[in-house]
């Protein structure tokens, strides 16, 4: 074996030593990271997020350590550096090795020198030096790694797994606190199968949320005495298997606090149910209620359906109400029932032939779309869309639904005639300079007769209403007499007739009699027509015209007057309180105290006080304060979700030792509420 071969051999030994050393240092670094983390976790539990980084951190540390060792050993890859390394550790070589390697192999002139150097190198056994060095490089990290392994083995069961392979639910893998089975718990929330959601595992939670009906499993390590569990007043059975205790219950419909007790210890777990919402059904067509004259034709229906987890089936529901007053008959008809295949949203349409419902006049159809979800645990949830009503009109109601043109009412006929008379009078006045006085009086007299005829028509309109109200008690002679009445006489007669009716059913402002109030514009027209007729009768159309204009304006006002028909409105009964106050018999009145109810604001004020008391307790009894906040949150989840959310964040932060100032401030602000003024339920002082 030549000197070069021997150096190559040493090189291989050194490289082997460096590689094993790198492995050992890498292993040591990784194990050290895990051992330190496990020890820290043993002293104070690390969160899952922090622990999730540890495997990668350990691997990185191992790589860095190994790389550092390999980098230091890179000189061993060069043969001359290896030779120098040997020369350094074997002084007996006297640089013969380095010199021999430097000699060119094919140079015959150096052969004697080469042979001398070979002899000198052969005389020195330097391989053991390399072996010693390799062993030395391996010894320290290997020993340290063994120590780290021993330390990890010495740690309690499960602790290493928590840092080496962290996962949700390994909170109970830590060593149980002495005699405290409630120190760490794991809660598994398994949603119902129909939701298709994955189970959720929570480490050491203060609250657990899930769909109503989910299976909630609580697990802890056995230590000390037995564990008892209650939710509100219901006892939850606790079983023990191996080193674990377990309790299971279904997620309730309302927020509930599970109390875990062991001797004097107590731990709270707030269960926050998320209800499975009923399907949301929106009826798109028909868009509004309607009244039909005939129950025939095709009615297009369209609806959309949505659900949070899945729709099972849907259908159209029709309730047909027949009858009136107190006598109604009902038919319920279901059409188009079909499954949705657990889809989360769907649309459905139907073309409804109204003839198929066999509707009669007066029938009322309430139609809606209905859907059912796939909830097999707490459901199924069923909900319907808004209801549309389709009514088939009775023949007697046609006046309210007909759009046929009507002839002009009497008042309108009067209006037309008055305009014509005005035009005739204006034309006559324009012609006045060109015609004789006799012609003027003659034509003016004809207009006056028409004006008087019109006045009588107006009079008939006025008294026709009054005749209706008075039940036709006016005699025929009185009607004849009325035609020639002066305006003052007419008004007096109208008022007298009103007094005669005496029903008191009508109420008018300002103490006016009904006939005056109702017919005031028409009476003004009547009055003006009277004056106009008199002026026209003596051949004075110019004097008549202002009265004719006034009559026209009055008729116009009458035409535009608001008409209110009180059809169908029940009579309002106003109780005479002064008359009936405390006149009832006092028998049978119970002795119970009757105090005014507390206002909603008082409830919130009490909650705010509880919140403040818990915050004050944080400094002295942190765990108790957190429990108080947890109980407050249980109440607020339904009553004030806006407060419950930041309060939950604050509880989590407090339990994990983080700064909870921001969520606590948010919760307090939400609890106080915005300073808004609103109308509340009326308060009342008490009854005697």
């Amino acid at each position: 074996m030549t000197a070069r071969d021997r150096v190559r051999r040493v090189q291989r030994i050194l490289l082997l030593g460096a590689a094993t050393s790198a492995l050992a240092w890498g292993a040591l670094a990784g194990l050290a990271v895990l051992a330190i983390a496990a020890t820290a976790d043993l002293i104070s539990p690390l969160g899952l997020a922090a622990r999730s980084l540890l495997p990668r951190t350990a691997a990185l540390a191992a790589l860095v350590a190994a790389a550092a060792v390999v980098r230091r050993a890179h000189r061993a890859r060069q043969l001359d550096r290896v030779a120098l390394w040997i020369e350094e550790r074997a002084p007996a070589l006297r640089y013969a090795l380095v010199t021999r390697l430097d000699l060119p192999a094919a140079d015959s002139a150096n052969r004697p020198l080469a042979e001398a150097l070979d002899r000198q190198v052969d005389a020195v056994p330097f391989e053991p030096v390399a072996w010693r060095a390799a062993r030395h490089a391996l010894a320290i990290p290997a020993a340290a790694a063994v120590v780290a392994v021993l330390l990890l083995l010495a740690l309690p069961r499960g602790v290493v797994a928590r840092v080496a392979a962290p996962h949700a639910g390994d909170a109970v893998a830590r060593a149980a606190a002495k005699d405290n089975a409630l120190a760490a718990i794991v809660v598994t929330v398994e949603p119902p199968a129909y939701t298709g959601l994955a189970p959720q595992v929570l480490d050491d939670p203060a609250h657990a949320a899930g769909v109503t009906g989910s299976r909630v499993r609580i697990e802890g390590r056995v230590a000390g005495g037995p564990v008892r569990a209650t939710a509100d007043t219901v006892t939850i059975p606790v079983t023990t298997g191996g080193d674990r205790w377990r309790a299971a219950l279904a997620m309730p419909a309302a927020p509930a606090v599970v109390r875990l007790r062991q001797r004097s210890r107590e731990r709270l777990l707030l269960l926050e149910p998320h209800p499975d919402s009923s399907p949301v059904v929106t009826l798109v067509k028909p868009a509004r209620d309607t009244v039909l004259r005939a129950a025939s034709g095709v009615l297009p229906l369209h609806a959309t359906f949505r659900d949070d987890f899945g729709l099972a089936e849907g259908w159209w529901e029709f309730v047909v109400s027949s009858g009136e007053g107190e006598n109604f008959k009902f038919r319920t008809i279901v059409l188009g029932r079909a499954g949705f295949g657990n889809a989360r949203s769907a649309e459905r349409g139907l073309r409804l032939r109204l003839d198929s419902l066999a509707l009669e006049p007066g029938d009322l159809v309430h139609l809606r779309a209905v859907a059912r979800d796939g909830n097999t645990v707490t459901g199924p949830g069923e909900s319907g869309s808004d209801t549309r009503s389709i009514r088939i009109a009775r023949p007697s109601e046609y006046d309210s639904v007909s759009v046929e043109a009507l002839p002009p009412p009497d008042a309108l006929k009067g209006l037309i005639s008055q305009r014509m008379l005005i035009l005739l009078a204006e034309a006559l006045e324009k012609r006045r300079p060109r015609i004789s006085h006799e012609t003027l009086v003659d034509e003016s007299g004809r207009i006056a007769r028409d004006q008087n005829a019109l006045r009588k028509q107006v009079s008939d309109i006025i008294f026709a209403r009054l005749d209706d109200a008075s039940g036709g008690e006016e005699s025929e002679g009185e009607a004849e007499k009325r035609k020639d009445m002066s305006p003052d006489e007419l008004l007096a007669a109208a008022s007298a007739a009103t007094d005669k009716s005496g029903t008191g059913a009508l109420d008018f402002a300002g103490g006016e009699s009904p006939v005056v109030a109702i017919n005031r514009p028409m009476l003004e027209a009547y009055n003006a027509m009277w004056e106009a007729g008199r002026a026209l009768g003596i051949g004075e159309p110019k004097r008549a015209l202002p009265h004719m204009y006034a009559a026209l304006a009055a008729i116009q006002r009458a035409r535009l007057a608001e008409r209110i028909y009180l059809r169908g409105k029940p009579k309002d009964v106003v109780v005479d309180l002064a008359k009936v106050r405390l006149v009832g018999k006092r028998e049978g009145i119970g002795p119970a105290a009757r105090l005014p109810r507390t206002s909603e604001d008082a409830v919130m004020a009490r909650r705010a006080a509880r919140f403040d008391a818990a915050i004050e307790r944080l400094g002295t009894a942190r765990a108790a304060a957190v429990d108080s906040l947890l109980l407050l949150r249980a109440e607020l989840l339904a009553a004030a979700p806006a407060v419950a959310t930041p309060l939950g964040d604050a509880i989590d932060a407090l339990r994990e030792g983080r700064d909870a100032t921001a969520p606590l401030v948010a919760a307090r602000r939400a609890l106080a509420g915005a300073p808004v003024a609103h109308t509340g339920l009326s308060r009342w002082g008490g009854a005697r």
């Binding site: 808004d386 309180l577 106050r581 405390l582 009326s682 005697r688």
Partner: protein
């Protein structure tokens, strides 16, 4: 402190105004037996209106199916959440009738749970007059009209320890549907139970 005002709920579907005499009769009874400051006339309040929140007790009745619009449902839920009491009476007095079926279904949707029997020892029956046997029977029940049953319990929904919905199949709407002046013809005033409902709404 405002006076108590009896409010009748107006809803889009059905015949909400089928018992127009009931408000006056209840008001009369409240004045007749208590010193509660009460308005002499009732009001009609749309179920979807925010005005609903002004009245601690709201009366709802009808014969026809009740289908609440979403706005009505939301406002009613808000109203009950704010502490209001909804008194519903089935004017059909028929547990198989459409009013009962549709209205109880709608109310269950609003309160999130089906209506349940109210025990006859409930505080409602001692709120003012004492009714040891629970809700007083109506002449309509005793005469065998409607569903031919004498209902032994009223239904309701609780919110905590107080009633938020009181539901009757006994047809008090017909029983109390007369002019209050006619009370003088009755040997026992049949509207006394209405006083209990009003006092309960104001004190619990």
């Amino acid at each position: 402190m405002s006076a108590f005002t009896f409010a009748t709920a107006q809803y889009d579907s059905g015949d909400w105004d089928s018992a127009p005499q009931v408000p006056a009769n209840v008001i009369d009874a409240v004045a007749r037996y208590t010193s509660i400051d009460v308005n002499p006339a009732g009001v009609i309040v749309p179920l979807a209106s925010r005005d609903l929140l002004r009245y601690p007790l709201v009366y709802l009745t009808g014969h026809l199916p009740v289908r609440l619009a979403s706005a009505e449902r939301d406002m009613l839920r808000t109203y009950l959440g704010r502490g209001g009491l909804l008194f519903v009476d089935d004017h059909n007095h028929d547990v198989d009738g459409q009013f009962h079926k549709s209205c109880s279904h709608e109310l269950a949707r609003v309160v999130g749970a089906p209506l349940r029997d109210i025990p006859n020892g409930h505080a409602l029956y001692r709120a003012f007059f004492t009714f040891p046997d629970g809700p007083p029977a109506t002449s309509h029940e005793l005469n065998g009209w409607g569903d031919n049953l004498v209902h032994t319990h009223l239904l309701g929904a609780m919110r905590g320890d107080r009633l938020q919905v009181l539901y009757s199949n006994k047809d008090y709407s017909s029983e109390w549907g007369y002019h209050p002046d006619n009370k003088r013809f009755l040997s026992i005033d049949n509207t006394r139970f209405a006083v209990n409902i009003v006092v309960y709404a104001l004190t619990r």
